[in-house]
Amino acid sequence: MLGLLVRLGAWTRLSLSHVGNLAELFWLLAKALVFLKRPNLKLLFKIILVQVRFSGMDAIFLVAVIATLIGAISIMQAFSILTSLADDMVGTFLVGVIVRELGPLVTGVVLIGRSGTAMATEIGSMRLNGEIDALLAYRVDPLAFVVLPRVLGAVLSMFVLISVFDLMGVFGGFAVSATLTDISFTLLQSRVLSALSNIDLLLFAVKAVLFGTAIAMLSCYFGLQVQRSPTELPRAVTHAVVSALTVLFIIDGILAVGVYLI
């Protein structure tokens, strides 16, 4: 029992130190963004575009396929469980399930799997290859050019990918609904649009920013923890994935409760 308490205490202490370090990292990134000189921002912008191409553009096809399937499967299940699912409820269902919840969540999981792992590995390798050391020697802030473009790139990518997911998910739902019922595309489209509220648009933006920031920051943070050996890389990636997934679902849960209470 005592051993369990000791382990729990150590885990709590470690978790709190990670939270403290992440808060410091966030503060330093915000400072770097605010105080960067104009030519640096131009350079940063070019790096962000590279990041968006990898994290966002290159993932569009994957997200589109997953979204279409999830949209189709969800609406099929809804029809089979709720046999009396009225035509006018299809729009509400698609907005509630796809746009509000699954879009940001599944996109976040895809971002973790594709880009979060890559970020943790890349930054860990950069530590091992002396890339960060070279920047420190030149007195160049590594956070501004290593972490910041990845975080901003991830946020922009989330906006792109969630939009793609929502469009394709709703399209998948449309396709199944049109097959199983007599409802027309035009009618379905108007049902979805009328079901969309300002809260949904706000949630879309908030989730894109929070999920993108959390995923990129955690991935970069655990990548930066790599010190000496390549054997630390897989551990850093595992930590990054597990913590990013946990935080993703926690944020989503908090937002869902918040919206429910509103």
């Binding site: 030519p39 790096i47 050391d133 420190l136 020697a137 030149y138």
Partner: protein, 233 residues
């Protein structure tokens, strides 16, 4: 005023645990070659000099005697040393742009001219992961030439690259030294290529750092470890 000063430095970690507080000064136009077997702590000395690590006690001071100031030290690493999310050209521009020494356009112009001179203009738009170790090394040299730091710290700059690139890098280091404004601290596993370049030689071994004055001082030494390095050559 020295470009680099170690003042009663106590090294962190166990590698130089028996070493008394260490003093060293490096002047502009001087080249100090650090050599020794693998794992004796050469990289540690370089990182202290470059300001990447702090000493356990004492001070490491870097000054830009030219008064240009913004980039006191540059680092060239045989391991890579370039950011993978930027092209080689952008990497070479970064320190000068970051410190406001050059505008983005001026840095790009200068970097392109340096790339032309080094014969790597065709690699400018590539990411570091897309070129060979020789290309990466030349891009690091280009970065140092664009940023013009007062002190250049180079970690085994001639290892893992082809002989022709090694000759180019050595020639450029010699040119930097000859301009009389830049100080060089270079580590080497094989001192042969640096015998003509080094003004002083610093031998690192477990718990000790010994200085030798010039090639003559090195040749006159009866130290078996120095002899073994010279014999290897």
């Amino acid at each position: 005023m020295s470009l680099l000063e170690f003042k009663k430095v106590v090294f962190p970690g166990p590698l130089f645990s028996g070493c008394p507080p260490f003093d060293l000064a490096l002047e502009a136009g001087e080249c100090l070659v650090l050599f020794g077997r693998a794992g004796v702590g050469k990289e540690l000395v370089l990182k202290l000099a470059a300001g990447i690590l702090a000493p356990e006690a004492g001070e490491v001071l870097t000054r830009d005697a030219r008064g240009k100031g913004p980039v006191p030290a540059g680092y060239i690493s045989h391991k890579g040393g370039l950011l993978n999310n930027m092209s080689l050209l952008q990497n070479s521009m970064l320190p000068a742009v970051f410190h406001g020494a050059l505008s983005l356009r001026a840095a790009e112009k200068r970097a392109k001219a340096v790339f032309d001179e080094l014969g790597i203009a065709g690699l400018a738009a590539r990411l570091p992961s897309m070129v060979t170790a020789s290309g990466r090394m030349l891009a690091q040299v280009a970065r140092a030439l664009v940023a013009e730091p007062a002190l250049i710290v180079a970690d085994q700059p001639l290892s893992d690259i082809d002989p022709e690139t090694a000759r180019t890098v050595r020639r450029l280091l010699a040119r930097l030294k000859a301009d009389g404004r830049t100080g060089l601290l270079v580590s080497a596993g094989n001192i042969g290529p640096f015998l003509g370049l080094g003004d002083r030689f610093l031998l690192a071994r477990r718990g000790r750092l010994d200085i030798f004055e010039g090639k003559a001082g090195l040749s006159a030494s009866a130290d078996p470890e120095v002899r073994s390095f010279l014999t290897e050559e």
